[in-house]
């Protein structure tokens, strides 16, 4: 067996640090790696494909009559709510997979390579946006199949979908932080759902805020998810909703500004 390379005579001239352009290229490579893994393990798509189907159908027929009088009149309210809930739930996976990755031997190798330290983290977050796109598409498709006809038409649906994807990406930083800090992936999952359930259910996603007791209504009103749901409802209904869109995007920006530095710092300490 021969190793056919030219002889190592002189030492390479090393770089002292990684340029931003290279860091970006490392991020894209790591994202590509995540996507390859997804292709190899199609069962990972179960949650992004099945969950929107099950939730949409279940909630529509379960609550439709009680909340809006009929399924058809509930769908314009429900689909944006389900969309936000499904996509944000999908973002939990970011933290879980990050933890699993960091526990594996391959992570040690990545840490010994002369690459941007942040690339495994930024690559994972980037690859996960594809999951959000799929969850979004599935939710709308199932909605259309059971009679959802948004007044905003395709442009409204696309605008609403994009807003949800951007916000879910922002929220995934929270789960990424849990992923980096937690001891194992089961802990990440458990903690993430503790964050996720109040955030998504204690909002106007499924039921009108007016039906809630005062203290809960107060929380639901300030909950950024409420504003996101309201913004998506407006966009898909073709209503101008600058205020709620601005609040949703602002909330997303705040989350990124707080959690991205925390996550990166915690990650770098371990990486």
């Amino acid at each position: 067996m021969t190793v056919m390379d030219p002889t190592v005579s002189a030492l390479p001239v090393p770089e002292v640090r990684v340029s931003i352009r290279k860091g970006l290229s490392h991020t894209l490579t790591m994202a590509y790696r995540s996507l390859l893994k997804v292709r190899r393990t199609p069962e990972q798509w179960g949650d992004v494909v099945l969950q929107p189907i099950i939730f949409t159908v279940m909630f529509a027929y379960l609550f439709g009559g009680a909340i809006a009088g009929s399924v058809d009149s509930y769908l314009p309210l429900l689909i944006p709510g389900i969309l936000v809930q499904s996509v944000i739930t999908t973002s939990v996976v970011t933290g879980v997979q990050l933890r699993e990755d960091m526990d594996k031997g391959v992570f040690d190798r990545l840490r010994t390579l002369p690459i941007a330290r942040i690339a495994p983290l930024s690559g994972a977050l980037l690859a996960d946006t594809l999951r959000y796109v799929i969850a979004t598409t599935m939710t709308f498709l199932v909605g259309f199949a059971i009679g959802y006809r948004p007044a905003g038409g395709i442009p409204g649906v696309i605008a609403g979908g994009l807003l949800v994807i951007v916000c879910a990406w922002a929220i995934s930083w929270i789960f990424a932080l849990l992923g980096v800090m937690a001891r194992n992936s089961a802990t990440v999952q458990a903690l993430s759902f503790l964050v996720l359930f109040p955030l998504t259910f204690l909002s106007n996603a499924f039921v009108p805020i007016a039906t809630m007791p005062g203290w809960l209504a107060t929380f639901a009103t300030i909950n950024p998810v409420t504003h996101l749901v309201t913004a998506v409802r407006a966009l898909t209904s073709g209503v101008v909703a600058t205020g709620d869109v601005a609040i949703a995007l602002g909330g997303a920006a705040v989350i990124v500004l707080i959690f991205a530095p925390l996550t990166v710092r915690a990650y770098m300490r371990r990486a």
Binding site: M1, P14, E15, V16, R33, L36, K37, D108, R109
Partner: protein
């Protein structure tokens, strides 16, 4: 050989790494010359892997200093990473991805273009006899195949220094031989290799110099010959027909071999280090003259146990127990 740059591939001075109250690495000093194979020998838990982790920038030392080709591992980690390749005890490749995918991704991360990375992956897979399995996920590889892929991943850009953490532990003899040949080829081509091992035989076969590590410290250092001289080149095993003759036998052995043997009453066995195997004849003659009756005799190469026993004053406990179990 003309030397460009620093003379030492690795310089470690008083390296310390503490986990809680466990001083895993407790003042390790190492000097590894460029272009050599350096063996770090020790039992499980001696601090071998931790030492490598510190030198490979995976762990920050709690004390002391490590330099790779003159670059400090703490102050210039990025530079150090561009000079090293690390192959761990556990295959550090992606199990869900195929051999090719793993190598291509590492190649691209290391700055090769996609096309070049693919070509490089194909040549490496071929030279490590993995072409047939190139498209299979690594999870389906055997232990030996994984180890080879893991090493291939460390060689994509041919780093001048390669750390191999127990490269052959758990491999069958044939695969182990292949691995040894690969390591020799690497050094012939100009790389420096630091390998850890639990096997004296492996260090003996490969390493130009060996450091014996125990409880986080270097307890002996030198060439294989120097180390073996300190424990004798062989070990003599005698089984007595009559237990009451043990004292006489020990006395004769001490006189003829010049070393103190140990008597194990349960097996009526005497074990003694021996610098020169030719003395066996003299010993047998001397024993017959004294009327000592033997039932069994064997000469063995010194084992890691004996190196340890001699150098540290305590054996490799769990493995020593296992050997007793087999012998009994």
């Amino acid at each position: 050989m003309s030397i460009q740059g620093p003379e030492w591939a690795i310089e470690a001075d008083g390296l310390v790494k503490v986990f809680g109250d466990n001083r895993a690495v407790d003042g390790v000093d190492l000097r590894v010359a460029r272009g050599s194979i350096y063996g770090v020998l020790g039992p499980n838990g001696a601090g071998k892997t931790t030492t490598i982790s510190v030198l490979a920038t995976l762990l920050k030392p709690d004390g002391g200093r490590g330099r790779i080709f003159g670059h400090d591992v703490v102050a210039e980690p990025h530079v150090v990473r561009s000079l090293i390749g690390v192959t761990g005890q556990y295959a550090s490749v992606d199990e869900q991805l195929s051999g090719t995918e793993n190598l291509v991704i590492f190649g691209v991360l290391l700055g090769l273009g996609w096309r070049e990375a693919k070509r490089k992956a194909a040549t490496l897979l071929e030279s490590f006899e993995l072409t047939d399995a190139a498209g299979k996920p690594v999870a389906k590889y055997s232990g030996g195949m994984r180890r080879r892929l893991d090493l291939a991943a460390s060689l994509i850009v041919r780093p001048p220094l390669i750390f191999l953490d127990e490269p052959t532990t758990g491999l069958d003899p044939k695969t182990r031989g292949q691995m040894w040949q690969i390591i020799r080829d690497l050094v012939r081509d100009g790389s420096t290799v630091l390998l850890t091992t639990q096997y004296l035989d492996e260090a003996d076969q490969l390493a130009d110099r060996i450091a014996v590590i125990d409880r986080g410290r270097v307890v002996a250092e030198g060439t294989a010959d120097e180390l073996k001289a300190s424990v004798g080149t062989a070990s003599l095993d005698l089984r007595l027909g009559d237990m009451t003759q043990a004292e006489t036998a020990l006395e004769v052995a001490a006189r003829v071999l010049g070393s103190q043997g140990t008597f194990t009453p349960e097996h009526a066995r005497i074990t003694a280090p021996m610098a020169d195997p030719d003395r066996v004849t003299d010993l047998l003659v001397a024993l017959r003259e004294r009327g000592v009756h033997l039932t069994e005799l064997s000469v063995q190469k010194p084992t890691l146990d004996e190196v340890f026993l001699t150098i540290t004053g305590h054996g490799v406990e769990p493995e020593a127990d296992a050997r007793e179990g087999v012998a009994a």
